[in-house]
Symmetry: C2
């Protein structure tokens, strides 16, 4: 095989596919990136058997061929080469020569025949959204998946399509994050659970451009994301997702409007008194016109008051401060509304149209 392509094209392609290279594996072929030019295009592929990424890069194919190269070392070599054309040559013993200007690297590759190609997916039903929207919706929900493997479904996010609406939902047993997106077209109903790892990796690859689209295909077992020259294929998580709508309620006893930044900064300050792993709640005391936040730990104590506008009953309630911080960080509104019932019932941070809903369970606390 002999290929010539620019450093920048090759590097971009390698950075994209390397997101599907597993960190640890006993199958050394999975640590490789496949370069396949047999089809007349330069195609890079990586595949950890759960998640596979394929991208096509521009370049000249002088001699068609196929080779698997160790992802880490290949990426490092390309990154450090001068910004010029790179030539990749392989021989029948998989000896690979990478040259650029006067620099010449020799490494030993592996047979492309041993590589696991991406599964063939029938591309039937699809939806289209912008790269920006997909990247944003992942950022705004991914923090409340569970990293606990006991419940596989909690480690993924529900993508639920209904006509012109898509809801993306994650939950970890203590909180639920829901974002609603309006699609450009109407689509048949569809419900799939996408692994959190897939979403994390794809959000790193997505350009975040509002003018560029992503096409998403669904099958029973897989989800496929197609954008620009890249295809991402991921297995789905099988099983029935949690019945979310039963957990949502629009009843409340106390409704608070508050400046988001003031609240976030205050909780952020309070957490510095809590050592890692220490489960100290932040105690929130809501009265007319004022929210008082208090925290007590072995390190010291803090209290602070924030002006609010309140409707309904006074209330004292405790929360894990991290859960509040996570939700507040991904809300862009300047003023937010919090709905509460009592110190044992979940609180809801949501806008009027339910474009976002963050449900957070309170924690028990003792006032000192």
């Amino acid at each position: 095989m002999k290929l010539v392509c620019s450093k920048s094209n090759l590097l971009t392609g390698l950075q994209v596919v390397s997101k599907a290279v597993p960190n640890k594996t006993t199958m050394s072929i999975l640590e490789c990136i496949l370069i396949d030019s047999t089809g007349g295009e330069i195609k890079l592929t990586a595949n950890d058997m759960e998640l596979g990424i394929e991208t096509i890069i521009e370049g000249d194919i002088v001699e068609k061929g196929i080779i698997a190269l160790d992802a880490k070392i290949f990426l490092e070599i390309v990154r450090k080469l001068p910004d010029n054309d790179i030539t990749i040559t392989t021989d029948s013993n998989f000896k690979t020569t990478i040259t650029c200007e006067k620099a010449k690297f020799n490494i030993i590759g592996k047979s492309g025949e041993d590589f696991s190609y991406l599964p063939m997916i029938e591309r039937n039903e699809s939806i289209v959204l912008s790269q920006y929207t997909l990247k944003e919706v992942i950022r705004q929900t991914i923090f409340s998946i569970s990293d606990n493997d006991n419940n596989k479904l909690m480690s993924g996010e529900l993508f639920e399509i209904n006509g012109e609406e898509m809801r993306v939902i994650s939950l970890d047993g203590h909180r639920i994050s829901i974002r609603k997106i309006h699609l450009k077209n109407s689509y048949p109903s569809q419900k799939v659970v996408v692994p959190g790892k897939t979403l994390n990796e794809i959000s790193k690859i997505l350009g975040g451009d509002a003018d560029k689209d992503v096409t998403i295909f669904f099958t029973d077992k897989h989800i496929v994301f197609e954008f620009e020259n890249t295809t991402v294929v991921s297995r789905l998580i099988e099983g029935e997702y949690f019945k979310i709508d039963q957990m949502l309620s629009s009843d409340y006893e106390t409704k608070v409007e508050i400046n988001k930044k003031e609240l976030l900064d205050c909780i952020d300050r309070a957490t510095l008194l809590i050592k890692e792993g220490d489960k100290k709640p932040i105690i929130i005391n809501i009265t007319d016109g004022s929210m008082e936040l208090k925290i007590n730990s072995t390190v010291g104590s803090m209290d602070e008051e924030i002006d609010i506008s309140k409707v309904g009953k006074d209330l004292m309630i405790g929360f894990n401060p991290k859960f509040l911080i996570d939700a507040l960080r991904v809300i862009d509104d300047e003023t937010i509304t919090i709905y509460l019932v009592n110190p044992k019932a979940p609180c809801f941070i949501r806008d009027e149209e339910n474009n976002y809903i963050y449900l957070i369970l309170p924690v028990n606390f003792t006032t000192v």
Copy 2:
């Protein structure tokens, strides 16, 4: 005690003195920063018994007093407070209240009486140089101190003053770094060995401003750096430093002029084939007009040629690539000159005026 000062003044002061707070210690008072306003100024001090830093910050003293506060938590609190005036109040039980706008923190301090003050140093002989010069000369030499504790002297740098000239020297048994500085005035001869840790910390505090000076005082056991409102006192390393001038020689058999960036980039590329801890040399083959660099490892091989201008014999020599990279990174010249004798003798990278001299010992190699 009751003090009021701006967040920015307090934060800057705390960041400066916290460089002398030890990471690990069995004496919990050393983990504190002392706030002392008994003398009519707000003075912050930290001291790990080797290195002590003191800085004076602006602010109002409402009631004089003294308190020692845990450095880490105090710095974190101040960092996260709003950008406004901060009030610090203490009572007789060392309970300390830190307020800013509506935020109020309570922490427990320690008696200032338990704190180890900086040693009193007689300020006799001193030299003056700019903050920029001191910061630069540390950066350009500190990498070749030894982190091995077997030879204390190698863990510090020699500051050698002679008339209008100061030389700063470090060595680790495989290489020597020497920088020469022209001072604004003439000073009596002086030789001290300053701990590398002191120099590392002081270079983080120095502003790097060419218009601002540092005054350095010497005593038998201590060195004192004074700049702006800050005083840094460090113990010296005792003992007779190595006789450097015996190791330097201006004889050579081969003299090479080479573009510094090309050489550095090439060696940098080569090192990616070497795994951490693997001691593979880079082999340099010098012939008329060309330097060929080669490296061979279990990962693969690289070779590259660079155009040079050469005087003298052809030579093949091996080096630890890291030692070359360290020296090349801190040389600002576009073209550098390398002086070599034979494959067993040290090479010198130096300019004509000996403003910098980097001596590097070669390593044995076998050509494959």
